[in-house]
Subunit: 426 residues, 4 copies
Amino acid sequence: MTVSREVVLEGHIIDSGMMESSFGTIMDLGGSFTVEEFDIGRRKDEESYARLLVEAEDEAALQSILHELHQHGANPADPKDAKLQPAPADQVVPKGFYSTTNHPTYIRYDDEWLEVEHMEMDCAVVVEDGAEQRSADRSSGQGPRDDGAEPRAYTKVLNAVEEGDRIVTGETGIRVDPPSRPRDSGGAFGFMQGGVSAERPSESTIQKIAGAIEETKRDGGKVLAVCGPALIHSGAREDMAHLVREGYVDMLSAGNGFAVHDIERDLYGTSLGVDTETLDHARHGHKHHIYAISEVIREGSIEAAVESGTIESGVMYECIENDRPFVLAGSIRDDGPLPDTITDAVEAQNAIREQAHEADMVLMLSTLLHSVAVGNCLPSTTRVVCVDINPSTVTQLLDRGSAQAVGMVTDIGTFVPMLAEQLDGE
Amino acid sequence: MTVSREVVLEGHIIDSGMMESSFGTIMDLGGSFTVEEFDIGRRKDEESYARLLVEAEDEAALQSILHELHQHGANPADPKDAKLQPAPADQVVPKGFYSTTNHPTYIRYDDEWLEVEHMEMDCAVVVEDGAEQRSADRSSGQGPRDDGAEPRAYTKVLNAVEEGDRIVTGETGIRVDPPSRPRDSGGAFGFMQGGVSAERPSESTIQKIAGAIEETKRDGGKVLAVCGPALIHSGAREDMAHLVREGYVDMLSAGNGFAVHDIERDLYGTSLGVDTETLDHARHGHKHHIYAISEVIREGSIEAAVESGTIESGVMYECIENDRPFVLAGSIRDDGPLPDTITDAVEAQNAIREQAHEADMVLMLSTLLHSVAVGNCLPSTTRVVCVDINPSTVTQLLDRGSAQAVGMVTDIGTFVPMLAEQLDGE
Amino acid sequence: MTVSREVVLEGHIIDSGMMESSFGTIMDLGGSFTVEEFDIGRRKDEESYARLLVEAEDEAALQSILHELHQHGANPADPKDAKLQPAPADQVVPKGFYSTTNHPTYIRYDDEWLEVEHMEMDCAVVVEDGAEQRSADRSSGQGPRDDGAEPRAYTKVLNAVEEGDRIVTGETGIRVDPPSRPRDSGGAFGFMQGGVSAERPSESTIQKIAGAIEETKRDGGKVLAVCGPALIHSGAREDMAHLVREGYVDMLSAGNGFAVHDIERDLYGTSLGVDTETLDHARHGHKHHIYAISEVIREGSIEAAVESGTIESGVMYECIENDRPFVLAGSIRDDGPLPDTITDAVEAQNAIREQAHEADMVLMLSTLLHSVAVGNCLPSTTRVVCVDINPSTVTQLLDRGSAQAVGMVTDIGTFVPMLAEQLDGE
Amino acid sequence: MTVSREVVLEGHIIDSGMMESSFGTIMDLGGSFTVEEFDIGRRKDEESYARLLVEAEDEAALQSILHELHQHGANPADPKDAKLQPAPADQVVPKGFYSTTNHPTYIRYDDEWLEVEHMEMDCAVVVEDGAEQRSADRSSGQGPRDDGAEPRAYTKVLNAVEEGDRIVTGETGIRVDPPSRPRDSGGAFGFMQGGVSAERPSESTIQKIAGAIEETKRDGGKVLAVCGPALIHSGAREDMAHLVREGYVDMLSAGNGFAVHDIERDLYGTSLGVDTETLDHARHGHKHHIYAISEVIREGSIEAAVESGTIESGVMYECIENDRPFVLAGSIRDDGPLPDTITDAVEAQNAIREQAHEADMVLMLSTLLHSVAVGNCLPSTTRVVCVDINPSTVTQLLDRGSAQAVGMVTDIGTFVPMLAEQLDGE
């Protein structure tokens, strides 16, 4: 005796691969299906609609199929409310909690779809009705905006979960909308398809990235740059400072080392002891980064060192001078660290998360650690550009289900100058 | 005024992504379509069938869409005969010649579908009727088998094209069947999905590869090993020799360097001057490979050196002793070369092509150059395993549209011993 | 008018390259020299002695030469006491402070040479006489051992410097002994020379590494393993657990992710959702690591989860069961984290530092971040083995002036099983 | 009873590491030594002189030491004539033949030192007296110049050895001069030391390379560019064509694929089907390279296609138009090939060898195969610049004992445009 359920696919179900993966999943798991309705979008801006009757041998098999279909964005035709369970303790999720993807997600609550706020993956979803809201407002930065007594759903990372939070469990009443891949070559991000390779036209790709930055700025969007110290070592500091000054970059996310070498270059003309113009190894140069940290500690902070005139140039200088907020996250390989560096990983993650949620476009520039940290907090709808000379790094960063991500395997020391030239030339 | 044409998708159109890409293509190119018939395979061994009516603004747009659809395996519902044009000169193709994929392909000729023999990509397709056949039989190894006076279609690489060959042009009357991805986890090759990464379970993957080799042998298939010199340097020579001796490897494709270092190890105990057991650098070791070549030249050939007792062990020795045919292809970085090395690139390609067409499974072991050369000659239906420590190499080798290819980023010096242990243990 | 100074080179001045670099340095900086005495060790266990008279145009040039010579281990023939200056504030070094190398170092104080304790690079050197000692004992873990009222010298990282610490400045009265490269092929670490390459004999190298571990254990030494999560993903977890259980590994340094995936495998049979034996992607597998963290939080700690029987196997389990101390250092890309993870970078560094100073041999296994953090704290005399599939990682880890470091470019998923087999077989 | 021999070290014995390695070698091999005379160059342009008395237990041990010392450039104080033996057959060397390094080498013949012509490594050395010369002149391009009846010594690769050639064997009467590393930062090639890394200042390094090219041209030298197809794919074709046209590049060495894609871009606007400006994948683009080959075959040669106006731009076009000689070497992965491609590996090597011997500076641009082939033929005194995005490739190319080689890990698609800009701007 078979059991069945109606399932609906909506949106760009062809482009997103949703239909292919749904059909495949049903068959892989031993089920079968009939396409009851199929209305395909015939132009690229039209959405499609398909209604399938999914059949399986027993309820367990059906549930297993429905679970997988859900991952691909196929949802039951007759939505019921999501199940909510209280968190048993701080930082502990109820069994069977729903772990998020990074795609736009909706929770069925009181027969309405609530869009989940602050989408990011590997989170729990907390649902509040209006009454709860006042108390929640007092909690972490992850919390709700003050928008009246309406029920709300939002993500919480594990360590922010508090005892009693009403957490979505199971898979009923949850809708996921995987974004379709941009197909129109007219859009700023339609230019790059296929795998990661160093054998792509470099100058033309940089031109397209410049175009996407300009489009983002024109639309009032914010650009977040995530920078590794290789950017400084490879001599791209002055051009990066230029991008910050001119407002092509609105926010900066980096580690202690990036800021240290940026400041070392200002104070001593070197990056890790090497003069990035003459390529000379400075005498005593191996001490410069320790000195640089010591000087900033003496001043109290980077801002204080800029204001006192100790630091007179560079990326950090331009951030201070032009009010571009920055997050410096600490790590166990840091020297110092600088007083501005957030040494606690959880605290640093929270600061990164806030930046990530504000960003409309993210440039990940030759740092794996910080790019992964930022990427973890991004919804799949944010535009991402990954630049690294190591193809494995680019592959790893792109491999997060984002439809808006492009990668470029190139030298950061030539990329940033060329990008700056493109942005200035237009 | 729009024009339209019926197009048919047949086979594993969901699994192969054919449907998704066909729908996307039509819309990308400004066309529209109606699904006139849609009969989906409900179990994984069932084929599907879809008939679409494709519409476009004018004939040019329609042709452009049909061209792209064809690439994805969608074919006109009312097939006409393929167009044939004579090659204007040796090695010169007619304008608009049809350049092959590596997928199974059929040519419409006299209202019948001829399966194209010797499928490989970037080739021209030559069609012969029975009358022509006798003369063609006298030509290159690429030529036809003696199977009566039936018309035939087969591939020819550019440099084998002869003046007057009847070559398929345009896209009418050509059907391509892209293989579906293996979905059943039961099959020997169903084990690996997703991108290329070093962070996969190594021992278990090697076990699966051993299983696939055994399955191939059980089915009476032939295994071709493509080997780079790193295999010898990294100390895997003895285990590779074992695989040849025991018949897990039926044919060998390599370069001059592979054979030289294999023989160097036999004659002098070193590979590029390093003792692969003690790790010592032998005194005078840098001369050993030149000596080894010189010794083989003195004997006349590897076979002669084995027969005279000069060479007493190793991969080449086992090939000779156990009648495993090998191809040694020359390159511009060779020392020597050995008398067995085919120095002419075209001649070497022909020898490689013959091996490739005989193989049912190919192991590509830490050589990019030779693996690409072999891969160029393989139809997409041959099983391929690529092993290299450089992820870019594995990615590049897998990126050829084969549904039967798996890659593993690992150390050839540990891979071969573990594979040999797996194969022996079972 | 030239100025001159006598300089002495002592020890393995040929093997260490000290002589070559000293001669070169003098000439590069425009000086000249006469070899006044030259007594060369004629056997590999004999030390050499050379006394040079270095001449330069003026005092500034001479000081510059002496500074560089000092870096290479050449010291003034007539040592004077080191200069000490009080730290002006917490975490602030006096101008011109001496920044350490990772080589054994001696400070001239009251006409005696004090060996600097806790050698590690990029530190300040603090000198105490007996009187100060009592108060210092109350300070950080970096502080002095209680060994009487003798004067002492020891390193302090920048953030441990306290106002008033007497810090070595300038270069007078400091002696550095760079270790000689091991040249005798008999020693366990004499086996590997030359650059980093994947084309080395893998099995033989693993055998040598096993020999070095056994030698270290026989000598009563301690082995520290620094492990990345790739070790778990690649299926080497069971063999690593074995090495911990059998006492080949005495201490563990890792990140949150390593412990999470180790525990995930115990609780759910997967690592990042993949069954490392069958290679299957578990249904719901992407939640497993979050569940694993949540379970440990519920229990309170890994130890509590082992004791309650929740965790029953794996690397962390064996650490708990066999009293092998571990440090889990947090990072900004962590999920959770586990309650055992030290989230503050400075605190984590201190814990890492303590382990590093206790270790006689360090295995760095496929983690760049944690290996750099540990490597930063190691003196150049500790044996180090770096294993990674990325040659750049191995190069970067070896490039720290250690004479006792060997690197291997291989797959951690085959390396650990083969190492365990070697260690058991002997 | 010990035996002894006097050995002389001359030249830049400190800079070149000759002294260090000589001392180490003697001790490693169980010998001992006394420094009988030691006259050190005190300025960087002064040569040094050392005379050692080397002692060993018996003659065999002494010979072994002398062999190794010889490799490092230490030579017997009392030179005897080199031993010559006739080659027993074509392509067969006498036992114990002397295999060359790539350093300047001298052969003792009739009590005179003959400088070995056409230095390249892994070759035999043939000595001719005047009488032999006439016949030899008729042999291969590798042969002697017509410079009278003086005795001569020159290299021969194994496959050029002819029966009866008088070949140097043993190690008596051979002197090798390893070049010293350039230490003066004033020279164009003094700028780069240390290992291979992507984290170097990119723009400044390119500026230095431009300076070295200009210096080479000013000195009347010839620049050979070795180019891989990635150069075309990455969009650097126009700038490379510019360098050829303007005479910064005098000769070109490449493979079939480089020329094919260069011509494809001219004929169809694409490289491997991708428009390098718009990044669009051209419809039918996968056929373009086959068409391009077919077109050139139809014309007869690249030169004919340029003259007929079929090819109107690009790197090959500029080579033809400006009389820059090029070598296109075939390989087993080639499509086609073009009529200009030398398909025989030995023949191609000979053509490459001739170019290599004429070059004063070699740019190796993103091709491992061709760069190794050219590098094999270069003496260690030729300036080499290696550019590749893969650090392993750069390391492998630099690892050939050349003192004049610099490497840069960067993107060829940004490198060439920036280099062209630097060269034009000055």
